[in-house]
């Protein structure tokens, strides 16, 4: 899986990659082709490269060099097509030779600045030979044509042509044709010499792309207070976990994001809590951070120790396309099926499901949820599942969002201030009752008072029936 694939599936990832300050199309392509690391050695190396860049970006001593590098990156054009032609051993025309020459000049300049950073993890081979070849007059400007300096004979022919009295004369035509012939053979020679230098040019192209991408990731980490995740074998633990996009939105409204502390073991964990308690956001945040981690980014937390997985599987209701033509229940069940099949196949997964079986009757819904959790337990699947169902009989670990704490003063809770009274932090929860705050939240949302009155009446009646039955 590449980052390009994942961006399609994951809104949060699209948001984060949109924040990357990439300066060249080379860097953008490099970003999209970034692979999802599942081997810890490769990932560790990638994260260490990034941390080296973060350190340098934070150091004001290097500011000048970074500005020069960015200026260089911004001047880069996409020369992929020309590189392909070079790779295919084609003869390049003046426009392509110009592109190569300009790239070589820019890459050499970036290389010089990179040396000042003392950052040796990205290698830019010197393209001085390329520049020398395409700059026979030693101007060091990015202009190009078949210079007379390439051939004594060409210089003579051009002078003769210039001296010709009538440019339309047969003599002038013959001279002109000879010039073209000679120029073509020079293009051939230049191309042949460039074929030999092709691997250096390609390496430099990949190098500047790599540099652009890693600088963008480092900048992102600094600007958005991301942290380098430590790689762990058994338990994923976050302190101060947050969702960068939700945090940014809240901050715009002068509200603060309440971060979570949470650990995930290779077993299911159940989360309960009132509506509007941020359970879904928590699942999305975990998914996003697992992607960030395994794509070699810093993650959105104060500190993080993370276990790599082979696949992140979610059922959060924002999947790109609900299988068309199916009811929401059928679509959900098929999604669950693919999760179970993958777990049975022995894949190391991170599974995040928001209220499984919520779209059917509560009686069977509870049964399905129970069975799912049993199975995830049996298959040792690292998973987090939210629910509103009471009476789930499973013995798995349970967490609860603390939820609303009612103000002592008489200020009524509204949609505008609910954030202040909602405690989003998680606590261990031993019994299987889930909080019943739905009607309260509905009231806060200013839902029709008659609807709420009637609902309360039904709820009370239910309660009575149960008591009588007991």
């Amino acid at each position: 899986m590449t980052l390009a694939n994942a961006i399609h599936q994951q809104n949060g990832l699209r948001y984060i990659t949109g924040l990357l300050q990439l300066h060249s199309s080379a860097g953008r392509q490099r970003m999209l082709s970034q692979k999802f690391f599942t081997d810890t050695t490769g990932l560790e190396k990638e994260l260490n490269l990034l941390s080296g860049m973060v350190e340098r970006l934070k150091d004001t001593e290097y500011q000048g060099a970074f500005i020069s590098i960015i200026q260089g990156l911004m001047q880069l054009h996409d020369i992929q097509g020309t590189l392909n032609n070079l790779d295919g051993r084609n003869v390049l025309d003046d426009i392509e030779l110009f592109e190569i020459k300009r790239f070589a000049l820019i890459a050499d300049e970036i290389g010089k600045q990179l040396k000042m950073l003392d950052y040796n993890d990205i290698k830019l081979p010197s393209l001085n030979d390329v520049v020398e070849l395409l700059d026979p007059e030693g101007n060091r400007t990015a202009h190009f044509f078949i210079y007379a300096a390439y051939s004594e004979k060409l210089a003579q022919l051009r002078n003769k042509l210039k001296a010709a009295e009538d440019p339309q004369s047969d003599e002038a035509h013959v001279l002109h044709e000879k010039c073209i012939e000679l120029e073509d053979s020079i293009r051939q020679e230049l191309s042949a010499k460039l074929w030999a230098l092709h691997s250096d040019i390609s390496l430099a192209w990949q190098g500047v792309a790599e540099l652009d991408f890693i600088m963008a990731r480092a900048r992102l980490a600094i600007d958005h207070h991301l942290v380098q995740p430590k790689i762990s074998e058994e338990v994923t633990t976050f302190k101060g976990l947050f969702h960068p996009q939700v945090k940014a939105v809240l901050e715009q409204e002068n509200r603060t994001f309440q971060p979570w502390d949470i650990s995930l073991y290779p077993a299911p964990c159940l989360i309960t809590g009132a509506n509007m308690a941020g359970k879904t956001v928590l699942l999305k945040t975990l998914a996003l951070n697992q992607y960030l981690f395994q794509f070699g980014f810093y993650v959105a937390a104060a500190s993080a120790e993370m276990v790599t997985v082979e696949k992140i599987m979610t059922g959060i209701g924002d999947e790109q396309s609900e299988l068309s033509g199916l009811s929401s229940f059928a679509a959900e069940m098929l999604n669950i099926q693919s999760i179970i099949a993958s777990a049975r196949a022995g894949n190391k997964l991170l599974v995040l499901i928001d209220e499984p079986a919520r779209t059917t009757n509560p009686h069977e819904g509870i049964a399905i949820a129970n069975a799912l959790i049993d199975l995830l337990e049996k298959l040792n699947v690292r998973s987090l599942i939210t629910t509103h169902y009471s009476g789930l009989q499973t013995h798995c670990r349970k967490l609860r969002v603390k939820g609303l704490s009612f103000p002592r003063n008489s200020e009524p809770i509204t949609v505008a201030n609910i954030n202040r009274y909602m405690d989003y932090s998680l606590m261990e929860h031993s019994h299987d009752e889930v909080p019943r705050e739905a009607l309260q939240i509905a009231q806060i949302l200013d839902i029709d008072s008659e609807l709420i009155r009637r609902a309360k009446h039904y709820a009370d009646q239910n309660e009575k029936n149960i008591v009588e039955f007991l």
Binding site: H77, R102, H143, F145
Partner: protein, 335 residues
């Protein structure tokens, strides 16, 4: 050296043909020839139909322009590859036209080249700005007038209009059509602090109130006027029309109360597609049209020969036109 001295005073000059085959290329070649040996550094590019070039690549008679050593030109990759001159590449654009990226080059050995340029006004403006870097004094723009074109030659400081028998073989019609276009070219500039902002707007109908504030009327195009009459006059009688100013719009506004104080602001003269009759009826009732981009008309060139071979009397044509327009008129073949 008629009107060429005048051209030297401008940073950018467009050469605009009223119709195909009016002789725009001859006119351009004349200017290039005359300025070829001076110390005045020239650049040349083009603006016009995006897509038009596709057919023209296959057409062998697409006019080529003769450039002298030292001239700078901007053309598409496709046309650069067919050049019959020696040139040093100075720059290559990132953005593409239908004929590929644009190559900026300096002529190192004189010869001919086909010129194609940017498809948008803003891009052309940027290119003209970039020419300082290469020591260019004046940029010439081969301009076309077209409904389909997103680009307008009105971005240049000065303009030379080329008209001729190709437009009409009837001298009276030719003069009348040319005079109408001349009238549009001479439309006064709308002077306000908001001009740059207005230029950024690319669709819909907008009102400009007495304080100069801009309001979106929520009317997508002039065709939807009838059903949006109520919205139209909520702010003022001054309208910015970001797209085409059509006969329909002028006729509609003419019938409305407040026509005496109605002002239409168009991007530039090339956005006015109303016929002469509708335009005159509109202005007669007191309506005014102003433009954001005003360009100075330097001269009018005529080509008395039509592509079908019909020839008008050159002297008579020049004299009549000059009298009617009040500016110098030249015959491109007699320059």
């Amino acid at each position: 050296m008629p009107f060429v001295d005048e051209i030297l005073k401008y940073k950018s000059v467009s050469i605009v043909g009223m119709e195909k085959n009016t002789g725009k290329t001859e006119c351009l070649n004349y200017i290039l020839r005359r300025l070829g040996n001076s110390n005045h550094r020239l650049a040349i590019t083009s603006i016009g139909l995006d897509g038009e070039g596709l057919d023209q690549v296959t057409q062998t008679h697409k006019p080529e322009i003769f450039l002298n050593q030292g001239d700078v030109f901007v053309t598409s990759e496709a046309h650069f590859r067919t050049k019959k001159l020696d040139a040093e590449i100075l720059d290559l654009s990132r953005q593409r036209t239908s004929l590929g990226r644009l190559v900026t080059a300096r002529v190192t050995g004189s010869g001919k080249v086909m010129i194609s340029g940017p498809s948008e006004t803003f891009w052309l403006k940027q290119l003209i700005g970039d020419m300082d870097r290469y020591g260019v004094n004046t940029t010439l723009v081969d301009g076309a007038l077209s409904r389909q074109s997103l680009g307008s030659p009105a971005i240049t400081d000065g303009m030379v209009l080329v008209t001729g028998a190709a437009l009409s073989a009837n001298m009276h019609t030719l003069i009348s059509k040319t005079a109408f276009l001349h009238e549009l070219i001479c439309l006064p500039e709308w002077e306000s602090q908001q001009n740059e902002t207005l230029l950024q707007i690319t669709n819909g109908l907008w009102a400009v109130d007495a304080k100069g504030e801009i309001h979106d009327l929520g009317i997508e195009s002039a065709f939807l006027l009838e059903s949006n009459k109520d919205k139209l006059f909520t702010h003022s009688h001054t309208f910015y029309v970001s797209g085409a100013v059509t006969a329909g719009l002028l006729n509609f506004l003419r019938m409305q109360p407040g026509i005496e104080e109605t002002v239409i602001i168009a991007r530039d003269f090339s956005r006015i597609f109303a016929d002469k009759e509708s335009y005159q009826a509109f202005t007669k009732r007191g309506g005014q049209i102003k433009v954001l981009l005003h360009t100075k008309l330097i001269a009018v060139c005529v080509n008395p020969v039509s592509p079908q071979g019909y020839v008008l009397d050159s002297k008579q044509l020049r004299e009549k036109l000059a009298r009617k327009l009040g500016i110098p008129v030249y015959d491109i073949f007699k320059l």
